[in-house]
């Protein structure tokens, strides 16, 4: 098909979930030879719109036209038969299978007696055509996240996808991998495909797209050419008001050393070495940011400094005292607060109410065997007010609360004990702009009050904004510790991908 010809047209798509309008008469056009970014905050309706295009949801009303013909999509299989392929945020790959097996799986061209050599050859030629590197014989569990994403893309191309949709494709990648991905997407567009990617990051939209559609509250607020817009205009469209982009302020001087790690090593759940000779320290009033692609030992690091995982070597020293391999309870008594990655699974108990969840941390301070529920309620009410937590009632199960409010409640509970050390893992994951800002502000307040903070993040911009130092982790090692300046961005990216300093040329 010719460039700029309309490939897909979605007309007045409306979809509601139990009364909530997720898509409100959305028009959307994707053209051949174009990389189209779908931009919007969480809950703006991006995923719903694309789910209608991939046959996952059926719209309540509206029309989908493919190459000027109305089509009806009943299932993802229907969609792929029409050449519409989706790369999900969470990859749909069978980990113990090889790349080739994953790609052949379920394809209509796969014969009953498997002929893997033929599939392999096709994979290699597809990979070459679009400039992707992939080993067809590798098992998927051995691949990095970036490589797995390539497998997903090739899987769709192998099935003859001409319209490729990627859901938040950059969330798990290093900056260099993001560049490579955009390169590949560009080549696919050049070959005549229509590429659509969902995101909420302006920077990537500017770097990787030709056209941008902005969704807000389920409506299409604008479709613009990337060359004719800028980040400020996009931000305005996305949130519907000017961004009060005043940078957060950092005050105060670092004090005494709160946490000291000395050559610490630990194993992961699979019995493999996950942390290797980790040595670092954090002072009071200081934020140490940990950068790295997820799965390089960050979780294990957070677990050892909160007492949840045993070390196999080395020492953990908190305020001068050796805490190596002591129980989580002793860590809590020492003033260690933990804001875990999985706030609803590890941090809070979804089926309990706000009072009970807050009680979980300080029940030990109650006298005797009985709990003082009156006092607990008062404390919960106070926290709700102080942290501006929105909830229907403190007696309702907290799983009914939104992500941002859950996180605020977790922070309220953890910060209540005036912690000396705060360990926080991906604190703004899944939160919208407003909640993200509130959480970051709260972290900076704790820093000001003299807490030492270990901030594990996958968002380099967040680390630049909050951290006093950035340590880059790769395969369980701290590659280097750098100051948070944008000049270091490239170096950090390379370190995240495992290149040592000498190779980077620093």
């Amino acid at each position: 098909m010719k460039k700029h010809q309309v490939m897909v047209e979605m007309k007045k798509i409306t979809k509601s979930f139990s009364g909530n309008l997720a898509n409100d008469k959305v028009d959307f056009i994707a053209r051949c030879g174009e990389v189209h970014a779908l931009l919007g905050e969480n809950g703006a309706g991006k995923s719903t719109l694309m789910s209608a295009l991939t046959g996952l949801y059926r719209p309540d009303s509206g029309e989908i036209r493919l190459r000027d013909k109305t089509i009806e999509l009943k299932s993802p299989r229907d969609a792929i038969e029409h050449g519409i392929g989706m790369v999900h945020q969470h990859f749909k790959l069978v980990k113990p299978f090889t790349v080739t097996e994953n790609i052949a799986l379920g394809a209509s061209t796969t014969p009953f007696l498997l002929n893997m050599d033929k599939v392999e050859a096709e994979i290699v030629s597809l990979a070459e055509k679009y400039g992707m590197k992939v080993d067809p014989r590798a098992k998927v569990w051995q691949l990095s996240v970036g490589e797995q994403q390539r497998v997903e893309i090739i899987k769709m191309l192998y099935r003859g996808a001409e319209i490729l949709i990627l859901d938040e494709p950059t969330a798990v990648l290093t900056p260099q991998e993001v560049d490579d991905l955009f390169e590949t997407l560009g080549q696919m567009a050049n070959a005549g495909c229509a590429v659509i990617f969902i995101t909420h990051k302006f920077k990537e939209v500017m770097a990787g797209s030709d056209t941008i559609t902005v969704l807000r509250n389920g409506q299409n607020v604008a479709t613009v050419k990337t060359s004719e817009t800028d980040q400020n205009k996009l931000a305005h469209l996305m949130v519907g008001r000017e961004m009060t982009a005043k940078p957060l302020e950092k005050k105060g001087q670092p004090g005494e050393v709160v946490l000291k790690l000395d050559e610490v090593e630990a194993f992961n759940d699979k019995g493999m070495l996950a942390l290797q000779s980790i040595s670092t320290e954090i002072r009071a009033g200081e934020i140490l940011g940990i950068a790295g692609v997820a799965g390089n030992g960050q979780r294990e690091l957070a677990e050892i400094v909160t007492g949840l995982r045993e070390t196999s070597a080395g020492k953990i020293i908190i305020l001068g005292e050796d805490y190596t391999d002591r129980s989580p309870k002793e860590y809590i008594s020492a003033g260690v607060a933990h804001v875990p990655e999985d706030r609803l699974g590890t941090g809070l108990v979804p089926n309990l109410n706000a009072v009970d969840n807050i009680l979980l941390k300080n029940y030990r301070n109650h006298r005797g065997h009985f709990l003082d529920l009156k006092e607990s309620r008062k404390l919960a009410e106070k926290m709700v007010e102080d942290f501006q937590i929105k909830l229907s009632s403190i007696d309702d199960p907290i799983k009914l609360m939104s992500g941002g409010n859950l996180q605020k409640m977790l922070l309220a509970r953890e910060f209540h004990s005036e912690p000396k050390l705060i360990v926080t893992v991906y604190p703004v994951r899944g939160l919208d702009i407003g909640a993200t800002r509130a959480v970051r502000q709260l972290l900076l307040e704790q820093r000001e009050q003299g807490a030492a903070i270990l901030l594990i993040s996958e968002d380099l911009d967040e680390l630049m904004e909050l951290a006093d130092k950035i340590a880059v982790m790769y395969e369980g090692e701290i590659m280097d510790i750098l100051p948070p300046t944008y000049d270091n961005l490239e170096t950090i990216g390379l370190l995240m991908a495992g290149s040592k300093c000498e190779e980077v040329g620093v």
């Binding site: 993802p76 069978v94 980990k95 097996e101 799986l105 379920g106 796969t110 009953f112 007696l113 498997l114």
Partner: protein, 311 residues
């Protein structure tokens, strides 16, 4: 021991191992598709009693074998409905199936106790092959179900690793969401493999009542269904290894019996009868440690019900 005695023990090992092999193969098929069915013991018993009843009624042991497969499959379809459609806990459902099967087979088998089947599966000497020294008398002077298992094992292996069907089957056991996303019907296939697995267990039971014993006794499987479940782990979900494992267990089973028959009374017969079960425990310890070390093991989604809506 003379060489004849050794040959006799090894040949008996294959006979004793064959019911285990059928049951283990069935459970491998089921578990590869992500469903754990601990009802093997129950399915074998129901297979044994229905096989024997039909064989006595029709006078044809092959109708018995078919009835046993159907009965095992029917039992497994209960498990499939509970765990796949209703997403009940697979372990609980499987245990219930074993208890149900034990009771049901006892009830159905009451009139059959003490009856001698007019015709059972006969030993067929394979021409030429059966006269190979050592191997011939061990491997090729057996009954037809044994020969059938010689064929099924390599065919299953090819199906698992060399065909589209096998690839789909392994995919729904490892990651049903991934399989679903590429248009594989997870629910339908899990039903199919659970029922087929049950049919295999039924045939394993029928082998006991039509060839091994051959008679009906209440609770005649005597825990063989559980040994088969353990064998699946020992075999690391591989049909070829399951065959070796079955014969190994069959050998231990046969040895106890034969040593007694030969008048070697050094060890208490009760101890010999205990051997296969002790061996099961030991083998499980070794196999589990080995699979931990090599990072290979159970299908990723084993025992987990699949729910498309769940995130």
């Amino acid at each position: 021991m003379t060489s004849d005695q050794i040959i006799a023990i090894l040949a008996a090992a294959i006979v004793a191992g064959t019911p285990l092999l059928y049951a283990a193969l069935g459970e491998i098929i089921t578990e590869r598709a992500g469903v754990i069915n601990l009802g093997v013991e129950g399915m074998m018993l129901v297979g044994a009693v229905s096989g024997f009843t039909v064989a006595v009624g029709t006078g044809n042991p092959w109708f018995g074998v078919m009835a046993a497969a159907a009965a095992g499959g029917a039992m497994a379809s209960i498990h499939a409905f509970l765990t796949i459609s209703l997403r009940a806990n697979q372990v609980v459902s499987g245990l219930a199936l074993t208890i149900f099967g034990t009771g049901l087979s006892g009830f159905l088998g009451k009139p059959m106790v003490g009856i001698v089947a007019p015709k059972t599966l006969a030993v067929i000497n394979v021409p030429a092959l059966s006269s190979i020294p050592w191997l011939g008398p061990i491997l090729f002077r057996q009954d037809a179900l044994v020969y059938l298992s010689y064929l099924i094992v390599p065919l299953l292996w090819c199906y698992f690793y060399r065909t589209r069907g096998g690839l789909n089957m392994r995919a729904i056991g490892e990651n049903p969401a991934a399989a679903d996303s590429v248009g594989i019907n997870v629910f339908f296939l899990r039903y199919v493999y659970t029922v087929v697995g049950g049919a295999f267990a039924g045939v394993g039971g029928a082998y006991l009542s039509l060839a091994y014993a051959p008679t009906w006794l209440e609770n005649m499987t005597a825990g063989r269904g559980w040994i088969a479940v353990a064998l699946v782990i020992f075999a690391m979900w591989d049909p070829v290894k399951a065959m070796l494992g079955s014969y190994l267990f069959g050998g231990i089973d046969a040895m106890g019996f034969r040593l007694q028959a030969m008048g070697i009374n050094v060890i208490s017969p009760f101890f010999l009868k205990m051997l296969p079960y002790i061996f099961t425990v030991i083998v499980l310890i070794i196999a589990t440690r080995k699979s931990l070390k090599k990072h290979i093991g159970a299908p990723g989604a084993l025992g987990l019900p699949y729910d498309r809506e769940e995130r």
